[in-house]
Amino acid sequence: MTKVASHDEISKSLRAFVDGYNRNARLKAMNRDWNRTVLVQATDIPSQHTLVLRDGELTLLEGAAGEADLTVTAGSDLLADLFAGEITPTEPYLDGRLKVLGREEDIIRLDFISLMIWGE
């Protein structure tokens, strides 16, 4: 049976992701040139969040806010694990459980950032 995470669990993971990013001065400096809006939505429960990256600072908003440059879609459990750093995005992206819509170069950059957040 497929596990389901709650909206609050996804929120908690995303907050950890945002905190991990914002604590990392080097990552923030690396992304000063990259202003992007990322919509994160679950496929199995009603859950949407928006990550906003502006001038190197990352913030988290509830729901869909503004026009997204990237849309990250997956099952709730996968999203919770992914943003908590318990799994990396590559395998679920390759096997189709994780979908990321946007420009190819933005997708690669988001992948690099997520790999760097939990390893720094």
Binding site: L94, I107, D111, M116
Partner: protein, 313 residues
Amino acid sequence: MKRVVSVSLGSSRRDHEVRTEVLGIPFEIKRVGTDGDLERAVELLQELDGRVDAIGLGGIDVFLYVDEQRYVVRDGERLLAAVRRTPVVDGSGLKNTLEREVVHYLAAHTDLLPPGTKVLMVSATDRFGMARALGEVGCELIFGDLIFAAGIPHAIRSVEELRRLAHRLLPELVKLPFHLLYPTGRKQEEIDSEKAAKFEPYYREARVIAGDFHLIRRYLPERLDRQVILTNTTTPEDVALLRERGAGYLVTTTPVFGGRTFGTNVLEAVFVALLAKPLPEITPTDHLTLLRRLEFKPHILPLAGEIDESGQP
């Protein structure tokens, strides 16, 4: 006659074929590009398997070495798996030895790499041997891996930082389709002018631009300031482009056959054909011995200055 074929994910417009002699043995060396088509490359490899003396894989790295750690690129593994009988190499076995030799040669015998020279390596995770050698001869290093692979404007400025990031990122990145990380097919023919302008300060900051030529070319600024280009795979058109943009010298790390340099994978495949022993038994010492027998030196081409009728400065 020994036959070596390089199957490349790069552009078919760079295809080339030469007949030459290497240490007195006649060779037919051919390069076939598949324009980024991985399936076509697999088919071609299957057709060649058992019919040539050695195969090189170009336009892709199968193995990335960071110190003693080896990372295997998943798309490259697929290509390797298509060949069962003929020895197949991607150049990485030779690259470390060859490029270290070239760097130490340039430092000892030319004035192109004095201590303190600022070097931009557009990508170093595919040629860690060169990166370490440049550090050993006292160069100031700028590694562009994050800049050119991911568009992240962060110059890595030490081998230690490069090593740390590589060990962090490569275990995952090698699983991605290779074309997401490196220009294949038609992208090899195009200069990305927008990014070239954005990345120009990194080129300007350095006296030497080193590493993979497809990356150097894709982000080549409109104007260079007599920088030295240290690379391997170039065609006469590439040389003309570098001259037009104002490069000072072109130093190539593989021999010139029929007016152009081939990739390290081709040279490694030639070595495999010459050595005629099983791949796992071939050592860096075998490569070094062959390089000495070939009296191999890097090819240094001055690009700046007056051009005579032959097109040479």
